[in-house]
């Protein structure tokens, strides 16, 4: 019975956390974009525009759902739901604090990658089901990008698995010590290339979440709005929310693997607040990058992955293995 109450509490808590994040990350993004471009961003609804997400949500929900005439109706309706499911599900395995884990999985890291890879298929289904050639091109682009960057991301994550000998996310955090130099990003005693591994992982998570400079899937200039061009109302809303959910998951994973999760940088008061601080800092970096750098070309994107990141991460893996074996 206690277990049941615990599960219910976690489900409610996660739903609240998720809802607030998905609503207010949109606000953070718009506010950030505004200030980067010397505007104010949303400011009319509530103080500092804080009620803007509520207004947006009401607007999206009150819109009529229009299915395009030559869309594949079943696939068109399924795609926004399918893209949301893995994004929400993954929060179950994230260790927010040492004892604040909804469910500890032995294969938490593998589970993250497994469900994240399902998201690509639903983008493809959405793009295809819309019956619009721009959506189709954008879907194909987004998926080929996801597939390309999944490989270096996985290989880099294997470095961490080799160092810790576990795929349990909480165990990975536990093995990183309390001080900043004990975090995986600075653990030079395990592998000299750890800071660069972090960089590779960060770039890959930028690409995996389809963020600028890699937002080829939804470049407004060429493809209207990418794979969700034909979606209106809450269908579009779900695609946007899935993007922010993936953003939170990507940043959480980077925090857990490289930045010591809930461990404290100065050795006192470890806890969920450090985790949230690091995660939101990374998210802020994503917003920062988005409004600072222009978009790359599609060829630049694929070349970066196949010609540089994948060979580099393979060499990195070999060096790490050598380092572990020798020392």
């Amino acid at each position: 019975m206690n277990e049941l109450i615990r599960l219910l509490a976690y489900m409610l808590g996660l739903a609240a956390f998720l809802g607030l994040n998905l609503a207010y990350l949109g606000w953070v993004e718009r506010k950030g974009a505004g200030h980067f471009q010397r505007r104010t961003g949303p400011k009319d609804v509530g103080p500092y525009g804080l009620l803007q997400p509520l207004a947006d949500g009401l607007k999206l929900m009150s819109k009529q759902l229009v299915v395009p005439a030559n869309a594949d109706r079943a696939l068109y309706m399924c795609a926004p739901i399918l893209i949301m499911v893995p994004a929400v599900l993954l929060f179950v395995a994230i260790p927010f604090g040492e004892h604040l884990v909804p469910r500890e999985f032995n294969f938490g890291l593998l589970m993250m990658f497994a469900f994240a890879s399902v998201g690509g298929l639903s983008i493809l289904i959405g793009g295809w089901g819309s019956g619009n050639k721009y959506s189709l091109i954008a879907g194909a682009r987004a998926v080929s990008q996801n597939v390309a960057y999944e490989i270096p991301m996985l290989i880099t994550a294997i470095n961490i698995v080799m160092i810790t000998g576990s795929m349990d996310l909480n165990e990975i955090v536990r093995q990183q010590g309390a001080y900043i130099w004990n975090w995986n990003i600075f653990r030079l005693d395990k592998s000299l290339l750890m800071p660069i591994s972090f960089l590779v992982f960060f770039i890959c998570s930028l690409a995996e979440t389809n963020r600028t400079p890699f937002d080829m899937g939804e470049c407004e200039g060429e493809l209207v709005a990418g794979y969700h061009t034909e979606y209106g109302g809450m269908g579009f809303g779900l695609f946007m929310m899935a993007e922010y959910a993936n953003l939170v998951i990507g940043c959480s994973l980077t925090t857990i693997l490289f930045l010591g999760g809930w461990q404290s940088p100065i050795g006192i008061f470890p806890g969920p607040h450090w985790f949230l601080l690091k995660m939101y800092f990374l998210i802020w970096c994503f917003v920062w990058i988005r409004w600072t750098y222009p978009r790359t070309t599609f060829w630049g994107l694929l070349n970066l992955s196949w010609k540089y990141l994948i060979p580099f991460s393979l060499v990195n893996l070999l060096l790490t293995a050598l380092f572990i074996k020798v020392f």
């Binding site: 294969f107 890879s117 289904i125 089901g129 189709l136 576990s166 795929m167």
Partner: protein, 176 residues
């Protein structure tokens, strides 16, 4: 002996039935629909069901690999292949000969009869103790010791596939 519905065994049974249903529905969608992209979606649903069954049989590693490789990679690859194939409209216009349907029915019947016969009449071994604790270390060790031959053979198959695709791509590029 029938466990009650709300005991752990009963709930596990319900979950097992749900997973079977998901797998079957996915398989039926994959085979019965006329549009190829829907077939792939059905296949993905089927794989999700199978992954759930693996998880039910307490092998989470295989379940996650099933999702990662079959749903995340194989289905996406098939979807890309469909984009290069002929459009659905052209295929629907073409008529299949009546013979192929009958042949399919005979083959399907034979296979399902054989499988059913084997399932009912076969001597099933009692579920032995779990081979290992299913941890990452044990899987790695058994892959590199007991099953190293299989492991190497699979890597050779993949190598051949990669070399073949590179050769094909190079030939295509020279043509331009």
């Amino acid at each position: 002996m029938n466990p009650s519905l709300f005991s752990p065994e009963g709930l596990a049974g319900v979950i097992f039935l749900i997973l079977i249903c998901v797998t079957m529905i996915g398989a039926i969608i994959a085979t019965c629909t006329k549009r190829l992209i829907r077939s792939v979606s059905g296949l993905a649903v089927c794989f999700v069901g199978v992954a759930g069954l693996y998880y039910f049989l307490s092998s989470p590693f295989v379940a996650m690999m099933e999702l990662l490789i079959y749903v995340g990679a194989v289905c996406v690859t098939i979807a890309f292949a469909i984009m290069l194939a002929e459009p659905d409209e052209a295929k629907m216009a073409r008529k299949l000969s009546g013979l192929s349907g009958g042949l399919a029915a005979v083959c399907g019947g034979a296979v399902s009869f054989a499988l059913g016969y084997a399932a009912v009449n076969g001597h099933w071994m009692a579920p032995a103790v779990q081979a290992n604790d299913g941890s990452l270390k044990m899987i790695g060790q058994s892959l590199l010791t007991k099953y190293s031959m299989v492991f190497e053979l699979i890597s050779i198959v993949l190598l051949v596939a990669i070399i073949g695709s590179v050769a094909l791509a190079r030939a295509g590029r020279r043509g331009n």
